[in-house]
Point group: none
Chain length 202, copies 4
DNA sequence: ATGTAAACGAGACGGTACGTCCAGTCTTCCG
DNA sequence: CGGAAGACTGGACGTACCGTCTCGTTTACAT
């Protein structure tokens, strides 16, 4: 049984041009300053075509960001490798990357843009939460769980809590462009995994 | 040396009416939907009078919130009293209050509104950070410090870190209306002060 | 020599549906308010099919009206019959019918619509003139000529002039929904044929 | 008792610029092609200012025309002068002027524009009738009455009828750009005032 | 008491973007 | 190929606020 697709099919070129334009303008002007009209002009597409597929600015932005048009994206926690399992090193690498993101104008404005995008209503709120907050939280959580399995009892608390606390703190700092010092990172590392790297020294 | 104050003095009534109107509209419509024009109408004041004293919507909102026109405000951590010093009980009380705030539509939308208000520029960002984030963080910090002085070594980490992590996590949950369970609160308590209140009982 | 007619032949059903829809919408909404899109929808025909055969709204309307889809049409002057030749009676009958048309909302708005349809350019102007003005003028003229042949010298002026003046006056009244009284009709009759029917009575 | 006029007064400059722009565009593009947006741009006025005072294109045009922004206007019947009283000469002069108007592109398109303007509704219809039809009719009527008083019994009919018939015929010819020959004018003169130039021959 | 001067209300102004509508064209599939 | 469906560009629509600008009015201090 085939599906009967009458009428001119949706133009992939237009769709992509809009999302690309949205990200460009988001970086250049920020969420509040960018306009639907501007997106259409930049994408060389009629305004009607934008409104046909997205009903608001935030919908365009959310789709653009959540389908990978975000140039780079926030740093995600990496696992150090097969044989190695150095949580402390992995965390430090990630926190350093986050430190750059916080200092980076573009990243900060993108985060703010996303926040503004969610201000409209709870539907959007959920989308943003799923796209911005959850990935960071989950990446951290997976890493913590892995570490906990290999070195039981060396974490300061349940993996999901550590993940949530860390994510919350970092996102808030990102939002307010509150820089993180290397000292702060050290303290954080000690806090999350106090034992594993200290005990050997004893 | 006297200051020469010619001309009609600023009307306190107008000033208050504007701030009151701003808060009302913030609750009713959210930050994005409310307008300077709407504020003027609601306050029964001419638009020019609003612009004479505040140059933008976010300035009005920030002043309104930071001078106490915020109806209620977020719960703040209380100290259990002179003789007593039960961190666990104080934290639980505060976390329960936060749980209600998170569930409360008005509080969540106000928090979102405030966060959005900062999206415009870094000047505002600082004001919001100072008004919204710092108070929570500092209240927690003070409490943790007090506890640490009485019961050294029983905190899971440096007071300022615990404060920041907790504040970050809670604000993020508030922002996204992510509810907190009592189970979650229990785990959090165990996490923050694992030993001090339990071990002595053993 | 046969003409080679390849492909699917033009659908008569579609053509008629379009013209019918055009007249319906003309009556319901007037010329300005009706749209090509609306015609297509009402006729249950694709927009392209409309554009394939008519290049503009006024073309559709003009064809619809000039091929008899006009419901009713303006009253036309009748000849009283073979043996009889009462110009005065015929004129009175026709003027009474026109009086009703002028009072009739639908007729007036249709006339206005047709006039508006010509506003675009001179091509259309000619078509409308031919369809709306000429018939009335010619019917009157024929009648006046017939009368003049039987009763020479009893008309107030050359037949073609009387016809033009009458048609002009009546169409203008129709256009502006300016009602005609029976008194006005009397005066008009006296004016057109002052002597022929009165003097003999003296 | 003074009238309290609060608020910034209406700008006469803007008002005039809009009406002037409307007439210019009417001549250049015709009624259908001109747009509210175009009027605003041409008048160097914001679109909102146009809509503040006129709710539609036809309102602007009608006001522009009825307050004298019409460049020239249709020719009006003149009285030949104090001592003289030559209706025939006056009529001939006016009909010659009308002949030029009919041939003139600008005049014809203006007349058509006015017609289109009235198509919207009966409110406008009345305004147009008052501005376009009545003046012509009344000027003719006044002249006929004057002539009738001096030379009773020399007119082909009641002054008001002659006026209406003439106006109707001429306006319809103007509308459809149907030219008038000098021969036609002669016949018309004979028709309107059969006696004055005929009787001497008797 | 009488200026003088700033704050006030009212509201018009030039703008910008909104979100909708329709004109025409183009692209795809079906009969 | 004709026709139905419907996406496309383009541009005007009428509205909502923006932030600025006159106005006439009010209110307090300074003569």
């Amino acid at each position: 049984m085939r599906k009967n697709m009458r009428g001119r099919p949706r133009s992939r070129a237009s769709q992509e041009a809009v999302l690309r334009a949205a990200v460009e303008l988001l970086e250049e002007q920020g969420f509040t300053a960018m306009t639907m009209e501007g997106i259409a002009v930049r994408a060389e597409v009629s305004k009607q075509t934008v409104y046909r597929w997205w009903s608001s600015k935030s919908e365009v932005v959310v789709e653009a960001l959540s389908t990978g048009y975000f140039p780079g994206g926030l740093p995600i926690m990496q696992h150090s490798g097969e044989g190695r399992d150095d949580l402390r090193a992995d965390l430090r690498a990630w926190l350093d990357a986050m430190r750059e993101s916080i200092a980076c104008e573009a990243d900060a404005s993108l985060t703010q843009a996303v926040l503004v995008a969610l201000a409209g209503g709870s539907e959007r709120s959920a989308a943003v939460h799923e796209w911005l907050v959850m990935p960071m939280r989950e990446a951290l959580e997976r890493r913590f769980i892995a570490h906990d399995q290999r070195h039981p009892g060396t974490l300061a608390g349940p993996p999901e809590f550590l993940a949530e606390l860390l994510a919350g703190s970092l996102l808030l700092r990102l939002m307010f462009a509150e820089p993180t010092s290397s000292q702060w990172v050290d303290q954080l590392l000690d806090f999350v995994s106090p034992a594993p790297l200290r005990r050997p020294l004893e």
